[in-house]
Every structure is written in C-alpha cells, then in structure tokens.
C-alpha cells in the first residue's frame, strides 16, 4: 500500500490496549483487530478467512492470534495465515501512535 493512498483514522486509545487483550475496532465497513506485541501496536483484519469469527475473541500466543472457532492461526505482524483450516491471509494495516491515540491507515 503506497503512502499517498492511506487515510489515517484514529481508532483507539493506546492506554486501553494490553498485550493479551486485543481490541476490535471498525473503520467504515472494515473490521480490524488491534494488538500489542513487544510494545508495538499492530492492526490486522479481524475476520477469520475460514468462517465467520472475530479473531480478537481468540487467543494471543506470542506473535500469533488463534481463531476462537477452529484454531486457525494468523501472524499479528503480517496477517499471514500460519495454520489450518484457513488458507487465506487477513489484511495487515499500517499503524501510527501519537500520544495516546492509535491511528490505522486504510
């Protein structure tokens, strides 16, 4: 995604985000999950690509999020699918943090 096409949207307060408790946010019609890994904020698509489930309801393990329904795993840093039954990645979004504000580029 080139920078010119990115629109930054404030989606959450940084102070609300803790390591094992991702936040579900919506930007327009996009469902996005926010994660904190090693002090860094990441944003990836929140819909599992296998069946309808919000990944933020799942289990964070290191840099991976495990779907609450069927245990497909995705990389929090890249959105890449890591294990079955999903076979497609979720989108990854650029993030910037200014003060207590988390912005996601969509």
């Amino acid at each position: 995604m080139s920078n010119e096409s990115v629109t930054w949207r404030r989606v959450a307060s940084r102070s609300k985000l803790t390591p094992n408790n991702p936040l579900a946010v919506e930007v327009g019609d996009k469902l996005i999950g926010l994660y904190l890994v090693d002090g860094q904020v990441y944003a990836i698509g929140n819909l599992c690509t296998h069946e309808f489930a919000l990944l933020t309801e799942g289990f964070v393990e290191g840099e991976a999020i495990e779907c609450p329904l069927h245990q497909a795993r995705f990389s929090i840093k890249t959105g890449k699918v890591l294990s079955e039954p999903a076979d497609a990645d979720v989108p990854s979004y650029p993030v910037k943090v200014e003060g207590d504000d988390i912005y996601v580029g969509v």
Binding site: E57, G58, E66
Partner: protein, 407 residues
C-alpha cells in the same frame, strides 16, 4: 520423494481433502488419487445439522475445495466412486465398476455412517438419518412449520436437529435412552442446562425412554417405547451415533475393533497403509489409551498428521480432543475425554449464560465443557496439552485471569 510413486486416498470427505492438501504442501511430487463415493467435492459436515438444515446456508458453502482446485493441486479426484475391495498383497484398490488402482502407499479416510435403529415398523415409517448433504436437504424439506418431529437420541446431532426444527416452527419431542442428554460428551450440569434451554423453546425432552417399535398412524407414525408410552409425529429423526466405515480394511485383514486401529503415527499394522478421521480408533499418547473421536477436529488434524507422516519425518498425533455444538444460540465447546464427570470445578454461573466446567482427575484437567466461553477453551487446551497440575481454587476463581495458570 520419488515422483513415480502413487499415493491413493480412499474417502473424499474432510479428512481426505486435508490429506491430499497436506501431501502437496509437504512437497510430495508423486501421483495422488482421491476417491470418494459422494458426488460432491470434499466438504465440512457440521453445517449440515445447523446452518444448512435451518435453510441459512446452501451446500456449496460447506465445500473445502472444488474439482478445479484439486486439479490445480494435481490431485486426481474421482467423485461418485465406491471402493469395494482392498488387495494388500497386490497393493490395489478395486472400485465398484471393476476398475483397479495400484498404490505404493494408501490412506483410508472412509469415515463413518449413522448407526441404524432397525426397529420393527421402521421401514414403513417416515424415518430420517442425517450424515450427508442429501440427507440434510431431504430432511430440510420436511421441517416445515407445524410439523411434529420426534428425535430419537439426545446427543449432539439429535439436539442440533431439534434446535433447527424448533427454529423452523416444528413441534419437537426428543427421546433419549440414557437418564440425561449428551451423556457421553458432557457432564450432568451441562446436560441439565441444555435440556432447560430446549424446554424453554417448547421442545419436549424425555430421558430414560427406550423406543421399541414404530406404528403407522393416519397422519404419520407413532413411536412406542418400552414403558408403553407412545409418541406421535409426522416424521422421526434418528441420531444414535455412528459406525466406522471399516469394512474395506477389515475384509483385508486389518485390525478393526470399534474402528480401524492405528497407532499414534496414524499407521495401521500394514506398513503401506495409514488411516485418519472418523474411521479410526487411535492410540492417544497424552490420554495413554485408545479413542475414537467423531469430530471435525480429528477429521482435519489426524488427516494432516497422517499425510505428513506418509511423506516426512513421522510425528505423533496428540491433539487434545475437541468438539463443539451450536444450539439455540448457545455455543458449547468440549475438550478432552474424561473417564468420569464426577469431580467438577465450575468457573462462572451457567445461569449467567457463560460458564466453564472443568472435570478433574488427579489434579489434572481431564475434560472441559464451556458454554459461550471460547477463550477458556483456548487456555484449557494448553493446560491439558502440558498436563499441568492445577490448583482448583484458582480455577474456580473468576477474578483470576485463566491464562495466568499457564505460566
């Protein structure tokens, strides 16, 4: 792996699909054939008793793949073909039309079929079983508002059918032989909760009643139970478990006893034959005993393990058994296969709509039943896989974050 070898997978359900997918993912370059007796592409069955039965989804939504995608994987997909004989000496599979197919390695993912009731009068009564797409669509046609449905068997399938039928406006009666619902997979606390959930939707739940015969009535049929009670319905659905499709293996002399026996590496006693999914009875290293799960998880993950073990360094398959059910807006998830449900520790109150019951054996979690609490399942699965000793007071204390027990 030499590209001139042939792997044949018999059974093109969920397990068969994940096996061929995994063979290619592992880089196996030989010939792969996938033979299945259904006309459809490999698909997932859970929606057939839920979304598809309720009319919220159509069969293609259950497909795991398409014939085109299988062709892209260079998998020779033979749908609508039934394997009838296995010649282990000549390493060939014979199909119903007489075709013989040679293999170097064989994977049996032949699944299971509904156990038949076979009661007097059954052949003349409108009795349905539910296993495949055809069954689900046929039953759906009958589940119209006002129809009286009798479900024989208060297990997962029977209750999911009851829930779907109630949602479609049917008057439902569930007849269960045991003294409580889903007695094989959940504890008594959950049985009682689920029974009330169905009763609140107007479904009649009868336990401890054993059907004896069917009688025709003017507008349907009557199920007569051993205690003399009779129940009238327009149709009957029987959900009393499954029988592994192990005849092919048994006839070829492989050990079959409550399923086709495989070890923790998905191997049969024949070094050229592996098996996975519903057909198998496998040794589980963590539980230290043989089990025959009938789950979505086992169909997928045991097949992945078997395919990997056929072409790569063998690793044991030791997933903590897991399954789920969706009924009347409730999500139930079940972990483990406890020998008893006697020692329960509750976390949260079921009446609140979300709670988890842990069943302990020797300070270890042997089973978990979670109602609308999937996050607890994710943690509990890891606690069980690590075989961790558990402080039951912490388990019961909702103010303690469950994942803290992992560290």
């Amino acid at each position: 792996m030499d590209s001139s070898s042939t792997i044949v997978v018999v059974g093109a359900g969920q397990a068969g699909y994940w096996a061929v997918h995994t063979l290619r993912k592992q880089g196996y370059g030989g010939r792969v054939l996938l033979i299945g007796d259904e006309a459809h592409p490999p698909h997932e069955r859970p929606p057939l008793s839920k979304q598809v039965l309720k009319g919220e989804a159509e069969p293609p939504s259950t497909w795991l793949t398409t014939p085109e995608k299988l062709a892209d994987l260079t998998v020779e997909f033979l749908p609508g073909r039934c394997a009838v004989a296995l010649d282990r000496h000549g390493r060939t599979i014979e199909l119903q039309d007489g075709t013989r197919i040679g293999y170097d390695r064989l994977l049996l993912t032949t699944g299971a079929r509904p156990r038949r009731l076979n009661l007097p009068g059954e052949a003349d009564a409108p009795v349905f079983y539910l296993r495949n797409i055809t069954d689900s669509l046929a039953l759906r046609e009958w589940l119209t508002a006002g129809r009286r449905l009798i479900v024989i068997g208060g297990g997962l399938i029977g209750l999911e059918v009851a829930a779907a039928a109630a949602a479609r406006g049917c008057a439902v009666t569930v007849i269960e032989a045991a003294d409580r619902l889903m007695a094989r997979v959940v504890g008594p606390e959950i049985s009682a909760y689920v029974a009330q959930l169905h009763r609140d939707r107007g479904t009649e739940i009868l336990t401890g009643r054993i059907p004896e015969r069917f009688e025709r009535s003017t507008d349907g049929c009557r199920v007569i139970c051993r205690d003399g009670g009779g129940y009238d319905g327009d149709l009957v659905v029987v959900g009393i478990g499954v029988v592994p499709n192990a005849e092919l293996a048994a006839t070829a002399g492989l050990k079959v006893e409550n399923g086709l026996w495989v070890d923790a590496f998905c191997r049969t006693e024949d070094p050229h034959i592996w098996a996975a999914g519903d057909v198998t009875n496998h040794f589980h290293p963590l539980l230290d005993r043989r089990i025959r799960p009938e789950t979505w998880q086992n169909a997928q993950n045991q097949a992945i393990a078997a395919a990997r073990n056929m072409v790569a360094e063998p690793q044991p398959y030791a997933d903590v058994p897991w399954g789920w059910s969706d009924q009347l807006g409730m999500n139930l998830q079940v972990l483990g296969m406890p020998r008893s449900f006697g020692d329960a520790v509750a976390r949260g109150d079921p009446a609140s709509g979300s709670s988890t019951l842990f069943y302990l054996e020797d300070d270890r979690i042997a089973g978990v039943n979670a109602i609308n609490a999937p996050k607890d399942i994710a943690v509990a699965r890891r606690l069980m896989a690590a075989n961790k000793s558990i402080d039951r007071r912490l388990l019961a204390d909702s103010s303690v974050v469950l994942r803290a027990l992992l560290s």
